[in-house]
Amino acid sequence: MVTLEHYLVLSALLFSLGMVGVMFRRNLIVILMSLELMLNAVNLSFVAFSRYLGSIEGQIFVLFVMVVAAAEVAVGLAIAVAVFRQRGTINVNDISLLKW
C-alpha cells in the first residue's frame, strides 16, 4: 500500500536533490534543470495532497505551476543563450557582474 507519506518523502527527496543541484552545480543549464526538478517535486506533493483530501484545487495548482515552469524555462534558456553569446561561457561563477 502506497500511502501519503511515501509520496511526501519522495517529493522531499526530489526537492532536496534539485536544491543541491541549484546550489552546487555551475552550469546554468543544469541549474535550470534542477529548478525544474524542485518544481516537479512540489507538483508531486500537490497531487498527493489533492488525492488524499479529495479536493481538486491541488491539481489545478499543478497546471499553473507547469505553465509557469514552461515560461520560466523558455526565458531561462533564452538568457542562457544570450549570456553564452555575450561572454562565451555559461559558468555561473563567471557571471557575477551585479555585485559592486
Partner: protein, 641 residues
C-alpha cells in the same frame, strides 16, 4: 461705479501678465502702450470713482467693498477688500495719474534698452502693488502691497544688474526696507492682539475705547508702525537706501523714489491718524524725525554734484516735511504736500532724465551749464518744478509747504524753524541745480556737446503735463478764504476723528488771524526768494565764490559732502559686524557643525555599506543558500515551537 474699485489694481496686473508672459514677440511700441494703457485705464476708473464719491454727502464718503474672504482661520478673518474714501481716492489718483504719465515718458526714455519688456512688466507690477497698498481696507492687505512695492523697487533699482553698484543698491534698498518692515509687522501683530481684527474701520472705530489716551500700548503700536514708515519713506535713520536707489533708470526714480512708493509711509501714518492722535509721544517723535530729516537731507543736498542725488536728498527732505505735518497733527496738509510733491518731484526727476538723455548719460552738474538753449522744453519744465518745490507763489509747492509751516508754528516754534531753514536750503540747492545745469558758462565736454539734443515729444509732453500740474496743483488748497480750501474740505472727514482726539486733549488754541497767515506766507516766499538769490549769486554772478566758501570751512564741507559719513558709520556699526558674524557662522558653524553632521551621516552609512557589501557576492548559489538557511530556520521555529 464705486463697486468697480477692484478694477483699479486689476488693470496693471493684467498689463504685467501680458507683457511679462506674452511680450516676447511684441514690438517696443506695443509693450510700452500696453503698460501705459493699463495704468491709464486705472486712472480713468479712479477719476470716475472720485466724481461718484463727490456726489455722496461729505460724512458718508467711506465705502468698503469686500471681494473675497482671503484668510479665514479661527478669529482671524482677512478679506481682500477695498476702502474707498477721500484719502484712498486721492492716493489712487496720484499713483495712477502720475504713474501713467511716467509710463508714457518711459516709452521714449527706455527706447532701445535691452530688457525693455522686463522694465515695463516690473513697472506695471509695481503700480499694481502700490494701488493695492493704498486701496486696501485692512492692514494685512496693505502689507501685501507694501512688500510688493519693496520687491519691485529692488527689481527696478537693480535693473542694470550687470553693474555692480546697481545690484548692490538694489540689495541695500531691500535690506534697509526689511528692517523697517520688521517694525511694521510687529505693530500689526500688536494691533491684532489688541483689536482682534485688521480692518481699518473696525480698528479705528473702537480704538478710543480699547486703548487709553497716551497709553503705553498705543504709543508702542504707533512707534512700531512709524519704524516701518521710516524704512519705506526714507527717514532718519533708515534713509540711506534712497540716494543709492538712483542707480535705477531715471523714470523709476521719478515713479518709485519720488512720487509713489516713498510716500507709502506718509500714507500709512495718515491712515492710522486715529492711533497716532491717541499717542502724543509718537506724534512728537514723528514730527521731530520728520523735521530733522527735512533739515539734515537738505544740508547734504546743497553739496552734491550729481543732479539725481540732489533730487534724491531733496525727496528725503520733502518726505520729512510730510512727516512733520503728520506729527503736528496736520494730516491733511501732509497728504496735500504728498500730492503736490508727486507732481513736481516726478517732473524734476524726469526733466533730469531728459538732461541725462541729452548728455549721453552724464549726471555731474559740474560738466553741464548753459543747456537752456539746447534743451528749451526741459529747461522750462525743470524751472517750473524748481519754482514749485522752492515754494514760490503761485506754484503748487507754495501752498502745501506754507500750510505745513503754518501748522508747525501753531504746534511749536522749533518745528517752524526747522522747516523754514530747510526751506531756505531747498530753494538754494534747487536753484543751484538749475543754474549749474541750464545757465552760466557751458562746461560740457567737447564730444558730448555735439550730441546735445532736445528729447522726443514722448518725453517732453509728459514733462509739460506735469509742469502744468505743478503750476495749478496747489490751487485746490488756497488758504485764508474760508471754505476755499477745496482739498482740505474734501479730505477733512477722514481725519475728523483724529482731530477730535487731538483737540479734546489740548487746550484749544485760538485760530490765528488772517494777518498772521498772510505774514507767514510772505515769509515763506521771502525764504524761497532768498535761497534763489544766494544760489544766483554763488553760481551766476560770481562762480568762484563756492570754492571760496569751501576754503573758508573745509572741514564742514567735507563732512557734508561725504554725507556725514553716515553710510560708513552704518557699515562700521551694523553691516560689518553682521557680515563678520555671518562669516563666522559660515566658516565655523555651517562648515563644521552642519556640514559635519551631514557628512558624518554619510560616512557612517558608507562604513556600514562597505561591510554589508561583502554579503553580496554575485553568486546566485550563495543567495539561494541564504534563502534555504532562512527557510530552515523559520520552519524549524514553527515546527519546534
Amino acid at each position: 461705479m464705486i463697486e468697480l474699485v477692484w478694477l483699479i489694481p486689476i488693470f496693471p496686473l493684467i498689463g504685467f501678465l501680458i507683457n511679462g508672459l506674452l511680450g516676447r514677440r511684441f514690438s517696443e511700441k506695443t509693450i510700452g502702450w500696453i503698460g501705459a494703457g493699463a495704468v491709464g485705464a486705472s486712472f480713468v476708473v479712479a477719476v470716475s470713482i472720485f466724481f461718484e464719491l463727490l456726489k455722496l454727502a461729505p460724512g458718508s464718503r467711506s465705502v468698503q467693498k469686500i471681494m473675497y474672504s482671503w484668510i479665514w482661520s479661527g478669529d482671524l478673518n482677512v478679506p481682500i477688500g477695498f476702502l474707498v474714501d477721500p484719502l484712498s481716492v486721492i492716493m489712487i489718483m496720484v499713483v495712477s495719474g502720475v504713474g501713467c504719465i511716467i509710463h508714457i515718458y518711459s516709452i521714449g526714455y527706455m527706447h532701445g534698452e535691452i530688457g525693455f519688456r522686463r522694465y515695463f512688466s516690473y513697472l506695471n507690477l509695481f503700480v499694481f502693488n502700490m494701488l493695492i497698498l493704498v486701496s486696501a481696507n485692512n492692514f494685512l492687505l496693505m502689507f501685501v502691497g507694501w512688500e510688493g512695492v519693496g520687491l519691485c523697487s529692488y527689481l527696478l533699482i537693480g535693473y542694470y544688474y550687470e553693474k555692480k553698484s546697481a545690484s548692490d543698491a538694489g540689495k541695500k534698498a531691500f535690506v534697509v526696507n526689511r528692517i523697517g518692515d520688521f517694525g511694521f509687522l510687529l505693530g500689526m501683530f500688536l494691533i491684532f492682539t489688541v483689536f482682534g481684527t485688521f480692518s481699518y474701520v473696525d480698528v479705528f472705530s473702537v480704538a478710543p475705547e480699547k486703548l487709553t489716551q497716551g497709553g503705553v500700548l498705543v504709543t508702542l503700536i504707533t512707534l512700531l508702525l512709524f519704524v516701518g514708515a521710516t524704512g519705506k519713506s526714507a527717514q532718519i535713520p533708515l534713509y540711506t537706501w534712497l540716494p543709492d536707489a538712483m542707480e535705477g533708470p531715471t523714470p523709476v526714480s521719478a515713479l518709485i523714489h519720488a512720487a509713489t512708493m516713498v510716500t507709502a509711509g506718509v500714507y500709512m501714518v495718515a491712515r492710522c491718524s486715529v492711533l497716532f492722535a491717541m499717542a502724543p509721544t509718537s506724534m512728537t517723535v514723528v514730527a521731530v524725525i520728520g523735521g530733522a530729516t527735512a533739515l539734515f537731507a537738505a544740508t547734504i543736498g546743497m553739496t552734491q554734484f550729481d543732479i539725481k542725488r540732489v533730487l534724491a536728498y531733496s525727496t528725503i527732505s520733502q518726505l520729512g516735511y510730510m512727516f512733520m505735518a503728520c506729527g503736528v497733527g496736520a494730516f491733511a496738509s501732509g497728504i496735500f504736500h504728498l500730492m503736490t510733491h508727486a507732481f513736481f518731484k516726478a517732473l524734476l526727476f524726469m526733466a533730469a532724465g531728459s538732461v541725462m538723455h541729452a548728455m549721453s548719460g552724464e549726471l555731474d552738474m559740474r560738466k553741464m551749464g548753459d543747456l537752456r538753449k539746447k534743451l528749451p522744453y526741459t529747461h522750462w519744465t525743470y524751472l517750473f518744478g524748481t519754482l514749485a518745490i522752492a515754494g514760490i507763489f503761485p506754484f503748487a509747492g507754495f501752498f502745501s509747504k506754507d500750510e505745513i509751516l503754518f501748522y508747525s508754528l501753531q504746534k511749536h516754534l522749533g518745528f517752524w524753524i526747522l522747516g523754514a531753514v530747510a526751506a531756505i536750503m531747498t530753494s538754494f540747492y534747487m536753484f543751484r541745480s538749475v543754474f549749474m545745469t541750464f545757465y552760466g558758462k557751458s562746461r560740457v565736454e567737447h564730444d558730448v556737446a555735439h550730441h546735445l539734443h532736445e528729447s522726443p515729444p514722448l518725453m517732453t509732453v509728459p514733462l509739460m503735463i506735469l509742469a502744468f500740474l505743478s503750476l495749478v496743483g496747489g490751487l485746490v488748497g488756497i488758504p485764508i478764504i474760508q471754505g476755499g480750501h477745496v482739498f482740505g474740505d474734501f479730505i477733512g472727514p477722514v481725519f475728523a476723528p483724529a482731530k477730535a482726539i487731538i483737540d479734546h486733549g489740548a487746550h484749544h488754541a485760538e485760530h490765528p488771524s488772517v494777518a498772521v497767515e498772510v505774514i507767514l506766507m510772505a515769509i515763506s516766499v521771502g525764504i524761497a526768494i532768498f535761497g534763489l538769490l544766494v544760489a544766483r549769486f554763488m553760481y551766476i554772478t560770481s562762480p568762484e565764490s563756492p570754492d571760496r566758501v569751501i576754503e573758508r570751512m573745509p572741514g564742514l564741507h567735507k563732512l557734508v559732502y561725504n554725507k556725514y559719513w553716515i553710510d560708513e558709520l552704518y557699515d562700521l556699526l551694523f553691516v560689518n559686524s553682521i557680515v563678520e558674524f555671518s562669516r563666522l557662522l559660515w566658516k565655523k558653524f555651517d562648515e563644521t557643525v552642519i556640514d559635519g553632521a551631514v557628512n558624518g551621516v554619510a560616512t557612517v552609512v558608507q562604513a556600514f555599506g562597505s561591510v554589508l557589501r561583502l554579503l553580496q557576492t554575485g553568486f546566485v548559489k550563495d543567495y539561494a543558500l541564504s534563502i534555504l538557511v532562512g527557510a530552515i530556520v523559520v520552519i524549524s521555529y514553527l515546527v519546534l515551537r
